[in-house]
Amino acid sequence: MPVVKSYKDAEALTLTVVAEFAAPVERVWQVWEDPRLLERWWGPPGWPATFERHEFVVGGRCAYYMTGPGGERSRGWWRITAIEPPRRLEFDDGFADESGEPQLEGTVIHGVVTLEPQETGTRMTIVCRFDDAAAMEQMLAMGMEEGITQSAGQIDDLLG
C-alpha cells in the first residue's frame, strides 16, 4: 500500500499525502526529473501526459498536455520555485491555453514534494495548497472525473 496517510485541512485548503516506495530516494527523484518517466504517471488513466518542456531548475518552466480517449488535449504548465535534488521540489501547477501559455486567471496549485530515505526505501510527502475554493472547483471540473474513472478502474479490477 504505497499511500500511508493523507490529511486534509479545509480551512487552509491543503492536502497532504504521504506515500512509501520500496526504492531508494534517487530512483524516486528520477520519476520527477526524467520527463519520459514523469509522463507515465502524471496523467490519469486514459489521459497520458506528454511533457514538451521540462526545465528542472529554479525558475524553470515545464509544459505538458494530456491526451483524452477521444484525442482531446488538456494543457498544463509548471513553474519550479525551489529544487534540492534529490530531496525537495517545489512547483506551481496550472492550466494552459491551447498554445501552452499559462492561463493567468486560472487555478494554481502550489506543490511541495519531499523525499526522505527510509530503511525499506523512500517516504514521499506531497503538500498541495490551493489559493481559494473557486480555484479548486475549476481544477476539479476535470479532476473529479479523473478520480472517478480511477475508482471505476478499481471496481473493474475487483470484478475481473
Binding site: A10, L15, L37, A133, M136, M139
Partner: protein, 121 residues
C-alpha cells in the same frame, strides 16, 4: 465496447458516491435530537457535556449523536483543554472537504502509478 462500458462505470460510481453522501446527511438529519444539536451548535461551539444537559439521555448517547453528525460532515470537533467542542460546519467548509477528497483520489492514483513504474525495473 470498452468506451461504453467505461461510461457506464463512471455513471454508476458517480451515483454511488453522491448517494452515499446523501444517505449520511439524510440519516443524520432524520432524528429530532440531532436536528436540535445542529441548531444549538450553529449559534456557538458547545462541549458534549454542555450539550448533554439539554437532553434526557446519557452523555454517551449524546456523544453518539454527535458522532453521526460528524460522519455526515455537518459538524466539526475541536479539542479545547479536556473538552471536545462541537461546532456546525459551514457549507463552504464542507464543500472544500469534498473537493480536497476528490483531489486526494487523483494523488492516490498518481502514487499508484509511481509505484508500478518503480516496480517495473
Amino acid at each position: 465496447m470498452a468506451a461504453s462500458a467505461g461510461v457506464t462505470y463512471n455513471q454508476m460510481v458517480v451515483r454511488e458516491l453522491s448517494d452515499a453522501d446523501a444517505d449520511r446527511i439524510f440519516h443524520a438529519l432524520a432524528d429530532a435530537t440531532r436536528r436540535d444539536i445542529i441548531a444549538r451548535v450553529a449559534r456557538e461551539g458547545l462541549s458534549v457535556s454542555a450539550l448533554a444537559q439539554h437532553y434526557p439521555m446519557s452523555f454517551a448517547a449524546v456523544q453518539k449523536h454527535v458522532a453521526v453528525l460528524h460522519r455526515a460532515g455537518l459538524v466539526h470537533k475541536e479539542r479545547r483543554g479536556r473538552e471536545q467542542v462541537v461546532q456546525a460546519r459551514p457549507a463552504t467548509l464542507r464543500r472544500a472537504i469534498e473537493l480536497l477528497e476528490a483531489y486526494e483520489r487523483i494523488w492516490r492514483q498518481r502514487v499508484d502509478g509511481i509505484d508500478r513504474l518503480l516496480a517495473e525495473e
